[in-house]
């Protein structure tokens, strides 16, 4: 069964540094998402992406965050200047359709900010 894959599995970064989290969605999926889960808290929606543009973003997704699909297969989340509170598990998801199809999630990338 096709899967969403994320790299790296664990990223350790100094505060203030830029970090890029990578995702390869399921190949025929058209909608892409990022979620995060701070330790001990709920999984939270960050952003959705369709047709090469952001479809929706949450209040968490401020100017420090950006997403892009640089080459038609990868889907990346960039955090420009990381803060301690960005430490979390980041999940990528993709779906074939936004209305009647579920989102399929990757393994997640654990981001640790020092």
């Amino acid at each position: 069964e096709p899967e969403v894959t994320q790299t790296p599995s664990h990223q350790v970064t100094q505060m203030g540094q830029e970090v890029i989290l990578r995702c390869v969605p399921i190949s025929n999926h058209l909608y892409f998402y990022w979620y995060r889960q701070i330790l001990g808290q709920k999984v939270e929606f960050l952003v959705s992406f369709y047709n090469n543009e952001i479809s929706e973003k949450s209040e968490i997704f401020d100017d420090q965050f950006s997403v892009e699909r640089p080459d038609g297969s990868n889907f990346t989340l960039k955090i420009r200047s990381t803060k301690l509170e960005d430490s979390a598990m980041y999940f990528c998801a993709s779906s074939l359709d936004r209305v009647n199809q579920p989102q399929h999630f990757g393994d997640g990338t654990r981001l640790s900010i020092l």
């Binding site: 998402y33 979620y35 709920k42 929606f45 959705s48 929706e56 949450s58 999940f91 399929h104 990757g106």
Partner: protein, 116 residues
Amino acid sequence: AQSVSQHNHHVILSEAASLELGCNYSYGGTVNLFWYVQYPGQHLQLLLKYFSGDPLVKGIKGFEAEFIKSKFSFNLRKPSVQWSDTAEYFCAVNAPRETSYDKVIFGPGTSLSVIP
């Protein structure tokens, strides 16, 4: 506040016991409902989903869930659990009219430990 709640933070069962994990949501209107499972060290996997039709939904690995609209509930059940069911279980809701088509709102999760 609009939310998804799960009744138990941690459930411990012996093998062969029956399981019911409670989930309630506070969104009105049309909702799409999901249960995801996260086995230790693995990604979130879809157990089952409800979009419309029969409110009793069967999923993978012997799980089922019942959508009761009047109670805003979507409880997960399994008649007989196995040790391999040890995992974190997340109820999730998509409420297109109240939030968006894109956003899936997750409950806090229930950790299930099955003792052999």
